[in-house]
């Protein structure tokens, strides 16, 4: 069974969001990493890039498949987890520890469209 962390928000495309004031910390769920298998590459935007909710902001590559990363919120990228460049497997090891980007949100109202842990549990199976 995949782990679903309480207190986070989730998108239907399996990204998680941890809200810290005006900043959204974004990663992918444990379910997503389990479905993909060994992750070998994380394609990330650069700091200061703008991301748009619902649009691709990067991609995960596992041995056997590619998966686009879809931005759960809009805003400016203020940090990216460069550790994933050399150690993409950190996502497999702990998907909730291995955040991917931090976004300064331009519209916190977009968070309302995301799922809570209980609702996400319904689709992550």
């Amino acid at each position: 069974m995949s782990k679903i962390e309480e207190g986070l928000l989730y998108s239907e495309s399996h990204e998680w969001v941890k809200v810290d004031g005006n900043v959204a910390i974004v990663g992918v769920s444990d379910f997503a990493q389990g479905e993909m298998g060994d992750i070998t590459y994380v394609e990330m935007p650069d700091v200061d890039d703008e991301v748009v909710a619902g649009d691709e902001f990067g991609a995960l590559e596992s041995v056997k498949t590619s998966s686009e990363l879809i931005a759960p919120v809009s805003g400016k990228v203020i940090a990216r987890n460069d550790e994933l460049e050399d150690k993409p497997e950190l996502i497999n090891e702990d998907a909730y520890e291995a955040w991917i980007i931090k976004v300064e949100m331009s519209d916190k109202g977009e968070l309302d469209a995301l799922l809570n842990a209980a609702a996400y549990a319904e689709i992550a199976k």
Binding site: G37, D38, T40, Y41, E43, E56, A59, E61, V63, K64, T65, S66, E68
Partner: protein
């Protein structure tokens, strides 16, 4: 669960081991157990065992068996001795590929075992029956009666000879087999595989295959799924039917002409291959190495620097053993020479690379 899916004789073991299961060629098959990278490395450096019971076993016998197999198969079985194996293809008259397969020459020169891809068993069997008119042959699809495992890796011989007790297997050279009898039933052990490493494929009755599987796992051989079977065969430069060989891709286009004996007087598709060899083909299968970590996948476009599309990726990975992004691609023949710069479009960006030999990984066969 789709109840139309077939299962192999090892299915309950896979489920109990917690394998990630997925439909493949109509079977519910294990994709991975511990992980594709871990399993891949076990085969490269130690030994792994694969359930390949889904593969098809079709026996051809009768007074015209040699002539018939020679008629439908690109390689030359007249040169096979008892215990010899050849790789080759069955072709349509236009040179397109029906399937790629192994042919085992049995003790009697008029008995052959044809091992075909799981996805093509019915198509191949029907094709053979259709071509058999005028030949005195018996074609027997025994696919459901046989289980099969592949034991692959540098330590495979130790486990097949020691753990399973098939001492005869140590004397086998690459692409030969021996016939054994266990509990009064036939067991075929061949020194073949689909990984680029030394290894064996074992054909036996389902209950025997179950025993062998358990004995190998107990001895420390790592169970391996179809995920790493694909990464291993890809690195070793081997085609997968459906990707690198299809009804529209001939062996000449795929660079497999060495398995097509055009000096044979006849076989189905021969004229088309001669024509392709003489006049050239519009596109060829090549290897491409990318300079970047982006991973080319099946279906991604291959382009020139100016964005002109000149081909398509058939299989691609970030290679586990070679640690670079590699792919097979079917490209316009004008751009198929080694060293030619080509770009692969991965999502929004085109990544530069160049044409390389398809055998990315130095294989380690015994003889």
């Amino acid at each position: 669960m789709d109840n139309l899916l077939k299962t192999t004789c090892l299915h309950d073991f896979h489920v109990k081991l917690g394998a990630k299961m997925s439909p493949f060629a109509g079977y519910d098959m294990p994709i991975q157990y511990s992980g594709i990278i871990d399993e891949h490395n076990a085969v490269r450096h130690a030994a792994g065992v694969f359930d390949v019971s889904h593969m098809g076993e079709i026996f051809v016998s009768g007074p015209d068996a040699q002539r018939f197999v020679g008629h439908i198969f690109t390689n030359d079985v007249r040169t096979l001795e008892h215990g010899g194996i050849q790789y080759g293809m069955m072709l349509y008259p236009d040179g397109g590929t029906v399937d790629d397969l192994l042919v085992y020459r049995e003790r009697d020169p008029q008995h052959y075992l044809l091992v075909v891809n799981a996805s093509n068993i019915e198509k191949d069997y029907t094709w053979m029956l259709e071509q058999a008119e005028g030949f005195d042959v018996h074609i027997d699809n025994q696919s459901d009666a046989w289980g099969q495992i592949a034991v692959q890796g540098p330590d495979a011989e130790r486990f097949v000879c020691g753990t399973l007790g098939f001492a005869e297997a140590s004397g086998l050279s690459f692409y030969t087999f021996c016939d054994l009898v266990q509990d009064g039933r036939r067991v075929i052990v061949s020194r073949t595989g689909y990984t680029g490493e030394d290894g064996f494929e074992i054909y036996a009755a389902p209950d025997q295959i179950r025993n062998y599987w358990n004995m190998l796992l107990a001895a420390g051989v790592k169970p391996c799924g179809l995920g790493c079977r694909d990464t291993l065969r890809f690195e070793a430069g081997m085609p997968l039917y459906g990707d690198e060989l299809t009804q529209d891709i001939s062996p000449v286009m795929a660079g497999l002409g060495m398995f097509c004996k055009l000096d044979k007087p006849e076989f189905i598709g021969r004229e088309a291959l001669v024509e392709q060899k003489t006049n050239g083909v519009a596109c060829k299968l090549v290897g491409i190495e990318l300079a970047d970590k982006a991973v080319p996948r099946h279906g991604y476009p291959v382009e020139l620097e100016d964005g002109t599309e000149v081909g398509v990726v058939t299989t691609g990975y970030h290679s586990i053993s070679l640690e670079k992004s590699l792919c097979f691609a079917l490209v316009d023949s004008a751009y198929a020479s080694p060293g030619t710069p080509l770009w692969v479009r991965v999502r929004k960006n085109a990544f530069p690379g160049h044409v390389v030999k398809k055998r990315f990984y130095q294989t380690n066969y015994k003889k």
